[in-house]
Structures are given as C-alpha cells and as structure tokens.
Subunit: 364 residues, 2 copies
DNA sequence: CTGTTAGCGCCTTCAC
DNA sequence: GTGAAGGCGCTAACAG
C-alpha cells in the first residue's frame, strides 16, 4: 500500500467505458447524464477511490479555491516569546474557516518569522502564487509592497489599522474599547495616576490603543499619565514593566496600570502580587482582548473584548467578495469591542459567580 | 490596479525575446544560461512582477509542495468550548513550519468540526487532493479510513497514540510523564486519595494518561483512586468536576486531583479556591502540557511538559521522509516529556523567582 | 547555450 | 446524452 496510486479521470473513463467528459459531468453532478451511465461511473469512481487532482482543476478553472492566511510572529531573540502568543492565529483561523466552510475552500497558512521585512515580502510573493487571495493579519509589509501584491492577487488586511489605500481592511474598534475602559477607570474608580504598558511600536492595533489611552487621559482634568513601558505583548513584558516601576527608589506607584493586551496585564498583576502589592486595592490593572484565561486569574481581569474569530470571518468574507469582483472599491470595516468589567479594575465581584462562563464564551 | 494581471511564462519569454524554456531555466537558476541572456530575462521578470503559477508547476512536477495539517475541534454544543483550546494547533503549526521552512513548502490547515466522523473522512479526502502529504493531529478517523487515505497520500499521525498499522505516528511519552508525576505525588508528598479529571474518551493521549495514572496508583500500596470525572479538556471541565466533588454531602475531599491537562487543572484550582479550599495545603492539583500560563497562576501549576512544537516538527519531518520514499516501513516515534515541579503539588516555591521564565520558555 | 515539443490532469465548448 | 479536441501554465527531455 505504499504505492500512493493516483487514478486519473482517464482511468475512470476507461474503466467505465465512457469519455472523460462524461466522467467530469458525473463528478460535478450538474449536467444531464443518463441515470444508468451516471450509476456506472459512480461505481467505478467509488471502486477506484478516484479524487480529481486539485492542481489540474486549478489550471482548468483558473481558480485554486485556496486562500492564504499570513501573519508574523516576531520573536525576541533572547526569550523567544511570541507576540499575542495565546491562540491569536488560532481564533482568526476559526473565523476564516467559518467563512470558507460554506464554499469548501481551503486555507494555506503561514506564520512569518518577522525577522526582516524584505524577506516577509518575498514569502508573500511565493504564497500568492498558490492562492486566490490573501488575508494578512497585522500589517507586516510596507504600503508599496502591499500595492505590488495587491496587483497580483486580492488582499485584505486584518487588524492592520493603518489607513491603507491599497487593500481592504478589517479591524477591531480599538479606539472605542480603550476609551470606554479608560473612562471607566477615571470616572467610576477615580483613578488619577495612570501607567501604560504598550505593545511593540510596529503593531498598528497597539498604537491605536495607546493613542486612545493618552487622548482620553489628556482630556480628563486631574488625571495624568505617569509613564509608559514598551513591551512586546507577552506576559514577561508586564512583569518587566512592574519590576522597573518597583525599582524606582522612593517612587510612588500609579493608581492603575492599563495594558495593551491581556497577557501583559496578567504578567503585571502577577509581579505586583509577588511584591506584596494588592490588586486592585493598591494598583488596578486592566488588559485588552479578553483571552480565555483572563477570568480565571485572581483577581479576574477587567478587559476589552474583541472577537478574533469575527475578525477572521469578516476579513475572509471581504476577500471572497473581492475575488468574485476584483473591481470593487476598497472598503474598511470596524468591528465592535466590548468593555468587560471584572475585578482587577476595582469593581466588586459579580454576585453570581459567572466568572467561569468567560472560559466558555464564544467571542463575538 | 484591480486587474490582478497574471503574467505567464510566455509573456516573459516574448518580452525578453527568448523561449519559455530559457525563462524557466533562469527562474530556477540551475541551468547554464549565458549571463547576458539571464540578465535580460531577470529584468523582464522583475519588471512584469512575474511569479510562476503554483498550480501549473504542480502539474508539471507531480508535486504540490504543500502538506496538509488537520485536526479536530469537537465542540460542546452548549458551551462551544474547544478542546485543548489554548494554542494547541498554533504550537504544532510552528513546528511544522520549522520542518517546512527549510525547503519552502507550505501548509494547508484545516480544523475539522469533529461533528460526525464520516464527514471528517470526506473532508480529508478532499484535502488530500490538494497536498503531498497529511499530518493528522489527534486521530479522528477510523483505522480503515486511514488506510484508504494512506493509499492515496502519505499520512502521519501526531498525538494519535493508537497503535496504527496504516501510518507513521509521532506522539509524546504520556505514560512516562504521568507515571513520574503520580509517583511524585505518592512518594514525595505522601498522597493517598487521588481523584482524576479525564479528557474526552475519544482522545488517545488522554486515554494514555489516564491509564498510566491508574496503573501507577494501583501498584502503590496504601494509595487509592477515589474517583474520576470525564471532562473535555477545557477549564470548565475542571470547575464542573470540583463542583461535583464539593456537592457530595459529607464527602471527604481527595488529597490530590490529577488532571488530564493544564486547562482542567486551572479550572479545578480556581473552583477549589472559590470554595475556600486551599491549594495545595488541603488539596493538591496537577496538570499536563505546561501551557504558557501555568506558571502564572497562584499557586504556580505543577505539570508535565510536552513540546507541541517538537511534535509538529517531528511529524512533519517524518512525513517528508515518507514523501521522498513512499516505500519506507511504518515507524513510530515517542517524544520525551518532563516533570515540571512548581507549587500546586505541594512543593515549596523556588527560591529564585524563576516562575516567570516559563512564560518565555521554548517548549522542548 | 537555446529553442521545440510533448505532456501533466482536468474542464469545456462544439459537434454528433 | 455523449464524445472529441483544444487549452490552462509550466517543465523536461530532445534537438540543434
């Protein structure tokens, strides 16, 4: 059985005593073929275990029925931490599959090693030859390179919030989410001295969140940003940030630490607690994303929920529309975010212990 | 630019005033072409932005340079919890990409909705027409169906620990890992009454862990299994299990709760703590996998580490070897696991606060 | 060195 | 209803 016999349309045609055209018709069901003939052909197909070769179909159809999903995973050379490591792509992928499942297309996935950008572009070029369209998560190539790619194949950006004129873009409403969260800290909890833990500077969504944070604080009299730490979206970044904060001799801690994502918030909470600082009594901490485990920490993490799955689904749908009609004007879509109040911000525990539900939530 | 012009080899050949064969030679670098000619062709290629169509190459080469990565995500209809939800596939994927990166192949990924098995098989059939080989994570099809698939395309099973005669298989040493862990609880911590939280019955790795647990306890005089809960590898399962345990009127809690994976262990810990039970003082809890966040919980989770990334890498390498030589005899490979002692088992805190390192570890 | 030519496996008009 | 034939874009012998 180590043969990997690959039967062709001709094999089937010969065995069934018909022409390849007839077999093709049967395979695709749609044409009129005499029932008896159809029956015979089907039997042969089943017997031989014939499956049409996808590459050959691609050639004939000028369509591969495959879309490419690409993202980056820049790694800190020392620690090998992945950005947004926790099920980021996985969730987006689910969404993409939802959109694709209906029509039976497949997804070619590639996590680029974000090392150097020119390389990323070359990889994308190669991939573009194998797919009908590209979903790029987290803008990774320059606008010009994007334009070049888009010339060859439809492209949609997911979570690449730059105002990209050369592609469709779908992203979460980082602005509203962050604004709502910060206002909550300012107004509901009366926080005055806020510290921010940021993601890497090249992350468009991270930038959007930070800007929203700063502007919201700025327009709130009496409140101030006491500092900012440039992290890499990993738990360790939060820990490092807090460690720095703690190390300042005679330094006063902020009222609240707002983090660019949940992982950094968790790291920050952990480090604060390890140092004997109470969360949220002494310092409140918040995140962004609403990852699966956020609700299971002590205290449960207050955050902003975004649906990565929905992101994938919308991006993919958008791509499919563009593949169907490449002349479509470029569009952009902004997905809703939702403020999730738990206890790390200082809110009281929910009377009903629903904390565990979050572990089971269907985001979006 | 919404044109998606796709230049062909002929376009290049014409523009450069050479034959298609020459262009092909230049593209593949390997043949002798006069430097001047090569130069000219390269210029045209660059100018036109020509990329060889992958489908056409596949036809000519009888090779697609794509491998398929398939797994299941059975969902509880009510809660929509994913099995091993946290970055399971993501890690495996990284490993696969490592193996593939060297040769520039791509990966077609598909997370099947584990609903009904016959459907899974049909999906796999379809996918098999688009790839040169298949890595199936978590056995999802029957042995016969597997044989049928393997007849058409090389297949390797990852983490599908059944003794499958129709494919190569790579999996983690669940047995040794679990045995070491249970012995530790029995011998080092003197635990007597152990409770087990299991994964779904159809998960081969879960079964292996449970069997190892039971046999290890059985051969240890004085120790006993007080019960077992059938979970689904999600945090909520651990919570549900503990809730049941707590609900028994006058019921005595076990000394330790051994869980089939980390997520359930985290859920169990959380639920115990919510009920005022101290971990590990009253009840110790352990997991399996060593997911990224395990070290950040309170107490840090004792677990068994397996490298999902290595799993993906080895499975893929194995597949590539088989693609290169389909006549190879079937092999199976067992990957090492490692006992990770933290505090949830009752061990003292590490003197050096290295807990955060785990968040940055490169598994395997 | 370079061009010609015959497929790869399938789909799809166009005749019968 | 069914078959014959051309072509999708590229590669790999062969000739020159």
């Amino acid at each position: 059985m180590a043969n990997h016999a690959a039967f062709t349309l001709y094999d089937v045609a010969r065995a069934a005593g018909v022409s390849t055209a007839t077999v093709s018709r049967v395979v695709h069901g749609n044409d009129r073929v005499r029932p008896a003939t159809r029956q015979r052909v089907l039997e042969v197909i089943d017997e031989l275990g014939y499956i049409p070769d996808a590459a050959a179909q691609s050639m004939a159809w000028h369509r591969k029925e495959v879309i490419g999903l690409v993202t980056i995973a820049p790694r800190d050379p020392e620690t090998d931490i992945e950005r947004e490591g926790v099920a980021f792509i996985e969730e987006v992928l689910r969404g993409v599959q939802v959109a694709l499942g209906k029509i039976g297309w497949s997804v070619l996935i590639s996590v680029l090693g974000g090392a150097d950008r020119s390389d990323a572009y070359q990889q994308l070029r190669k991939i573009s030859a194998k797919v009908d369209g590209l979903v790029i998560v987290e803008g990774i190539v320059s606008s010009e390179q994007l334009a070049l790619l888009a010339e060859r194949v439809p492209v949609v950006l997911a979570a690449g919030s730059l105002d990209e004129p050369n592609a469709d873009v779908v992203d979460a409403d980082n602005w509203s989410g962050t604004t709502a969260l910060v206002r909550h800290m300012l107004v509901q909890h009366g926080k005055k001295r806020l510290f921010y833990i940021d993601g890497p500077p090249d992350a468009p969504d991270g930038r959007a969140r930070r800007r929203a944070f700063e502007e919201t604080v700025a327009r709130h009299p009496g409140a101030a940003v006491t500092g900012c730490f440039e992290g890499r979206f990993a738990a360790i970044s939060g820990q490092l940030a807090v460690r720095e904060l703690l190390a300042v001799p005679g330094g006063e801690l902020p009222d609240a630490i707002i983090c660019g994502n949940d992982q950094m918030a968790i790291g920050a909470m952990r480090e604060l607690q390890a140092a004997g600082v109470r969360v949220p009594a002494d310092v409140a901490v918040t995140g962004f994303d609403d990852i699966r485990f956020g609700a299971l920490f002590t205290p449960p993490l207050t955050t902003v929920r975004q649906s990565l799955r929905l992101l994938g689904e919308r991006a993919c749908s958008c791509l499919l529309e563009r593949i169907a009609d490449p002349a479509l004007p470029h569009r952009s879509e902004r997905l809703p975010t939702e403020l999730i109040l738990r206890e790390s911000c200082g809110c009281p525990p929910a009377e009903d212990p629903v904390y565990w539900r979050a572990a089971a939530h269907e985001p979006g």
